[in-house]
């Protein structure tokens, strides 16, 4: 018994010390100037969780040891509780670099508007990503699970949704690529609108699973020392569980990715498809699938198929049509070199009509005012490209009732049309010698679009303030 007590004291004491270190660190983080008020909510909630964890550990330290638990079980119990500290640390890591010195202010407000267009009560935290990748995390989900595991109440002032969006920091100024964020916003929409439930069940087929089972089994079986009989290097049960778990993980994950692509397309229109093609073609192989993502070739094909129906070629600029036709040819080919699990996921998705099911489910679930329609594209992209060609920020558009603010997808769709058309007119407006290379021109153009998004946001805020005054709101 004394050794149990000593072990218990040591483990809880060191875990409590580390809790205190986290509390101190969060105090320092709280003092930094942040780009979003949501960060303070996350910090406050984590401080609350840490205090609760500390008191749980203190109880483990002082409560009598249950006589029916041995030393190993006591250690495992403390270990399990102190493991929450790792989760808290992981959440701190998500917001650690979101202070004002790391994120350009001109991006924050326009992107917050986009988040609020889909989630009116959503808060946004933007962080610079060291990787060449975009990502989104709904932090509130993990905060709530953490508090549930600690058996604590959720603070009443915690915003219902806090999204942490990571943008490649070396490409903060690449406005056109930021359309990828439409896909990222698609992930929480996919869950919120329960799209997975709406496209389920998806039949994989008994024969296909059996074939996969036998194929994988043949690959991993090893010969017995005498070479006469072959056996699995682990239990048959484990192998069965491996197949079951992997198929049940890969297919739903791929379905969510394709669904998020659909959301990206339906909320941003062609701009998302064009950005996705550019984004993928530079850093990913078209046939490179992973456990979490279908091959880009297949994703591009599904997006282009949908584009053809929703945004017929005649409504697009000539150069955009050419660009899309080239990619349609490339994407038409079947992805190759997939592993057996990836192949089964792709075959199932294709044969079970999952893409159409996804599209129908999303179309029925996403309200019209949250979509970017063909009608809106036709209405605004023409006038906005004219503004861009004249180097006038496309932040507003002239209507029957005077100037009204455009939308972020509108600016970016017009931006892509101009970009694919070669930016000749835009270049003519620049002072001579300003842009000597295509890359300098592209850079200038993207900066111009970021500025347009910022002006658009200012115009919207102004309208909102004016309406508040008129309606008597403070």
């Amino acid at each position: 018994m004394p050794s149990i007590d000593a072990l218990r004291e040591l483990k809880t004491c060191s875990a409590r010390n580390r809790c205190q270190a986290h509390i101190k660190y969060l105090r320092g983080l709280s003092a930094r100037t942040q780009t979003s008020p949501a960060i303070q909510h996350v910090i406050k909630t984590l401080q609350f969780a840490l205090k609760k964890l500390d008191s749980n550990l203190a109880a483990l330290e002082s409560d009598p040891v249950p006589p029916f638990l041995d030393e190993d079980q006591i250690e495992a119990t403390i270990q399990f509780k102190s493991g929450l500290l790792i989760r808290i640390n992981a959440i701190i890591g998500l917001i650690d670099v979101a202070d004002i010195s790391g994120v350009p202010g001109e991006l924050v407000a326009p992107l917050r508007i986009e988040i609020r267009r889909q989630f009116p009560d959503g808060e946004l935290i933007i962080v610079p990503a060291a990787e060449l990748n975009y990502s989104i995390v709904e932090i509130t989900v993990y905060l709530k699970r953490l508090l549930a595991d600690l058996t604590c109440e959720i603070p009443t002032d915690l915003p219902p949704k806090i999204f942490r969006v990571a943008i490649p920091k070396v490409e903060f100024d690449q406005a056109l690529l930021h359309c990828i964020l439409a896909h990222e916003i698609g992930h929480p929409l996919f869950r919120e609108l329960e799209i997975e439930q709406k496209v389920s069940p998806i039949s994989v087929g008994e024969r296909r699973i059996n074939d996969l089972y036998e194929q994988l089994k043949a690959t991993v079986e090893k010969a017995k020392p005498d070479g006469t009989q072959r056996e699995l290097p682990f239990g048959e049960v484990m192998f069965k569980a491996f197949v079951t778990e992997n198929v049940n993980r890969i297919i739903p994950t791929w379905v969510e990715e394709i669904g998020s692509d659909m959301f990206g397309f339906m909320t941003f229109g062609p701009a998302y498809v064009l950005a996705f093609i550019y984004f993928c073609s530079s850093v990913f192989r078209l046939n490179s699938a992973s456990e979490s993502h279908p091959p880009p070739r297949f994703r591009i094909k599904t997006l282009l198929d949908r584009m053809e129906v929703e945004f017929p070629p005649e409504g697009l600029g000539c150069k955009t049509r050419e660009f899309l036709n080239t990619w349609r040819e490339i994407a038409r080919r079947e992805p190759i070199n997939l592993n057996p699990l990836q192949q089964i996921a792709l075959d199932t998705i294709q044969e079970q009509g999952v893409v159409d099911r996804l599209y129908n489910a999303i179309q029925q679930s996403l309200p019209d005012d949250k979509r970017y329609s063909k009608a809106r594209y036709a209405e605004e992209v023409g006038p906005l490209t004219e503004l861009i060609d004249a180097m006038i920020p496309p932040a507003e558009i002239l209507s029957d009732k005077g100037y009204k603010p455009t939308t972020i997808p509108g600016i970016l769709n017009a931006g892509w049309e101009c970009f694919l058309a070669g930016l000749d007119k835009f270049r003519e407006c620049l002072p001579e010698g300003e842009c000597n290379t295509v890359f300098e021109l592209n850079h200038k153009f993207n900066e111009f679009l970021i500025k347009s998004m910022e002006l658009n946001q200012i115009r919207r805020s102004w309208d909102s303030a004016r309406n508040d005054v008129i309606s008597g709101k403070n």
Binding site: L69, A90, S135, S200, I202, S203, G235, V237, K240
Partner: protein
């Protein structure tokens, strides 16, 4: 889903099995010590029965393979159970028999019927192994660079 989201999701998921096992171990230890089971112990036993039934559904999934939100839960529970118990059985049939025995044991306990002592010992050992497996899985997942599945792209 991006990498940070996946890491947190998988780590939180790993904790789910462990969280239940932690409570079940405590309750089963009380039962083994002939201590009176309280209301919350019965709730824990109900959750244990549900988990074990999910394991069985996950085991049977391969005979009628259909993907749904429920099948994901079954598959996760089956994988957790198999990873924790495969070394204790010599065949898939024995695995199923063991799970059936454990279902019967936890159901008996939840109805305040005295369980078979050997079955109770086996059930305790099973949840103990689930608990340790969950802790190890959590540690592996949070040591990110060692997990190839977490290094995927996240666009």
């Amino acid at each position: 889903m991006g990498e940070p989201d996946r890491v947190l999701a998988l780590a939180t998921e790993a904790m789910r099995g462990g969280n239940l096992a932690d409570k079940v171990i405590f309750t089963l230890a009380k039962a083994a010590g002939n201590l009176k089971l309280e209301k919350q112990d019965h709730e824990v036993l109900r959750q244990a029965v549900q988990f074990l039934k999910e394991v069985k559904s996950g085991y049977d999934w391969i005979d009628e393979p259909t993907i749904s939100p429920e099948s994901k839960t079954y598959a996760f529970s089956f994988k957790t159970a198999a990873s924790s118990w495969w070394q204790m059985v010599s065949s898939p049939l024995q695995f199923v028999e063991d799970i059936n025995v454990m279902i019967k044991t936890t159901e008996d306990l939840s109805e305040d019927k005295p369980p078979n002592r050997d079955s109770l010992r086996k059930t305790r050992l099973f949840f103990d192994r689930v608990f340790r497996h969950s802790i190890d899985r959590f540690s592996t997942l949070t040591a990110r660079p060692e997990v190839p599945e977490l290094r995927d792209a996240e666009y």
